[in-house]
Symmetry: C2
């Protein structure tokens, strides 16, 4: 059905269209790529490709444009991820190495990725669920208020102000802190609910109301942050691009955490670090855009996802290379800290 040359034609069409943003015709194709056949032959191949749904023409007597299906075939079989240049790799490394805390790592990552790909970059904050507790701190603020601070091994810090049901002395707070840390230090966050379940019973009865309140806030903190924050950067890169869907819709999606989460997709449990490419109508919400994403995190412990979003007409090999490289470096940074 699709012999070698037809695939070469498809590849050429995708590459030309991506770089020129104009429907590509048979004549130009035969010239620019040395296909060693005449425009007429190319036309026949193009007709076949159109028949199969890989390309289409905007109007009669215009050049051809790849369809989503065409891009899909291109990504799957006709292209290979383009690695970054040495200079780019070094730039990434030094830029990310300057980060001072987790927030900073994420901010730098998202900006870097946006600049590198000239698309919109999207980064999900590392999930807490797989993190472990490094320290729990209780800071008395006033007689009946305590600040609960939770520090994880990824450097994340969560804090909540807890209103106590009754006055609790500082020494009792200190004791509770010691107990909590002895109990939780080094444990995975997902194990926390089980571990603290019988805690009130192991403490003096008079403390129970306060302890129960504090624990409920602690658990709430874990749950609330389960669906994690997502940030984006590079919206300015959308200004030039033309989507089949309106620019407004794209910007709205970017500010809607839930939609963005769906777009980034789930990390497939078997190959978490594989690149996911969603093209045009393959996307759950935003048709007309493509997404290149991957999981990141240290080693086998995948923490979250990052990727870029752009028009369907994007340079997939380069974008995929950038996403993969950035994911690797940020994983490295996180593992080191």
């Amino acid at each position: 059905m699709l012999d070698e040359r037809k695939l070469a034609v498809l590849r050429a069409i995708v590459e030309d269209y991506v770089s020129t943003n104009e429907p590509v015709g048979s004549k130009a194709l035969a010239e620019r790529h040395n296909l060693k056949v005449s425009p007429a032959t190319v036309r026949n191949d193009m007709a076949a490709l159109e028949e199969e749904g890989y390309i289409t023409q905007p109007h009669t007597s215009a050049g051809r444009v790849p369809t989503d299906k065409g891009y899909r075939l291109f990504v799957d079989r006709l292209s290979q991820v383009k690695p970054l240049s040495g200079a780019e790799r070094r730039a990434i490394e030094t830029f990310l190495a300057g980060a001072v805390d987790l927030d900073d790592v994420v901010t730098r990552t998202v900006r870097l990725l946006a600049q590198l790909t000239r698309q919109v970059a999207v980064v999900q904050y590392p999930t807490l669920t797989r993190s472990t507790v490094r320290h729990v701190e209780l800071v008395p603020l006033s007689e009946r208020r305590v600040m609960l601070v939770l520090i994880t091994n990824t450097g994340r810090v969560e804090q909540r102000v807890v209103e106590l049901p009754e006055v609790v002395e500082d020494t009792r707070i200190a004791h509770l802190r010691a107990v909590l840390n002895a109990c939780l230090d080094g444990c995975g966050l997902s194990a926390v609910p089980d571990l603290v379940a019988d805690l009130p019973e192991r403490l003096p009865a008079e403390d129970r109301p306060a302890v129960a309140t504090i624990l409920s806030v602690l658990l709430e903190t874990l749950v609330e942050r389960h669906d994690e924050k997502i940030v984006f950067a590079g919206a300015a890169n959308l200004a030039g691009a033309d989507f089949t869907v309106g620019l407004r819709d794209v910007l709205e999606a970017l500010e809607e955490q839930v939609v963005l989460m769906r777009l980034l997709g789930e990390t497939s449990s078997d190959t978490p670090s594989a690149l996911t490419v969603r093209i045009g109508s393959e996307n759950p919400y935003l048709h007309g855009t493509s997404i290149v994403a991957t999981g990141y995190g240290s080693g086998d412990n995948q923490l979250a996802r990052l990727g870029v979003l752009g028009p369907t007409r994007m340079d997939y090999p380069v974008t995929m290379g950038a996403v993969r490289a950035v994911a690797r470096y940020v994983s490295q940074i996180l593992a080191a800290s």
Copy 2:
């Protein structure tokens, strides 16, 4: 020079143009607003207004459009801030009251403001400089690493991992923590450098290298966050608007903290809570856009600024009302926590 009726004409032109986005002509003006004079008279007034530079016409034989100078006069003398409806006020209150921590307050505020004004909202994080220290925490992570956590009275938490020059026992860390808290608790952040200056000398000589390292990180934390983070929301609202400057430039400015900071402007020290309106070319960088901003914070302690950015052609009375109201409510929330 400008009698009462001419001012009325200018007001009518601004109002009409803002609502229709089309140059407004003399005939329509005389009809829609009951000026009780004929179109011809209006034309004479318009000629005068144009002479003075308050309005202009895009081409000969098109209606008139306000200039920046015209909007300025409108804002200063011809309009009054439009208060929000009761329903809106209640909605703001309940929405902001649901915030769980400082991050959440800021996020909710910026979204709220964007939705309310249908413009891009910009909120600066409360500055640390005027905050006071509520607690300093040192958490031993390993033999030579300590996490420094700084908690302020605004609920802000800053953390840094400190690499120590030598092994320090936990008990000595605990002692240092006690000393630090005794020294700093309740003090303004700006006073911290002075307060810790002689600290190393008051401690055993063997601890000095470690103490010096920790203190330098602490001071660094204060300095680094001095220029504060700014967030925005509602970029989707830019999609419809037309700026004289390109959409791309606006989006770029929004992602550039420094530029955004300049746009929000300084809180004037004498009347910190006054509304600042910058129209078109009055803006330092982004000509063609207007900014309505104000300081916020509890009472006389102005913490930071917030505002909205939109096209010069904006509904100033409504926008100013929304900005003012949101600033008040968020100040209230912050004061309570």
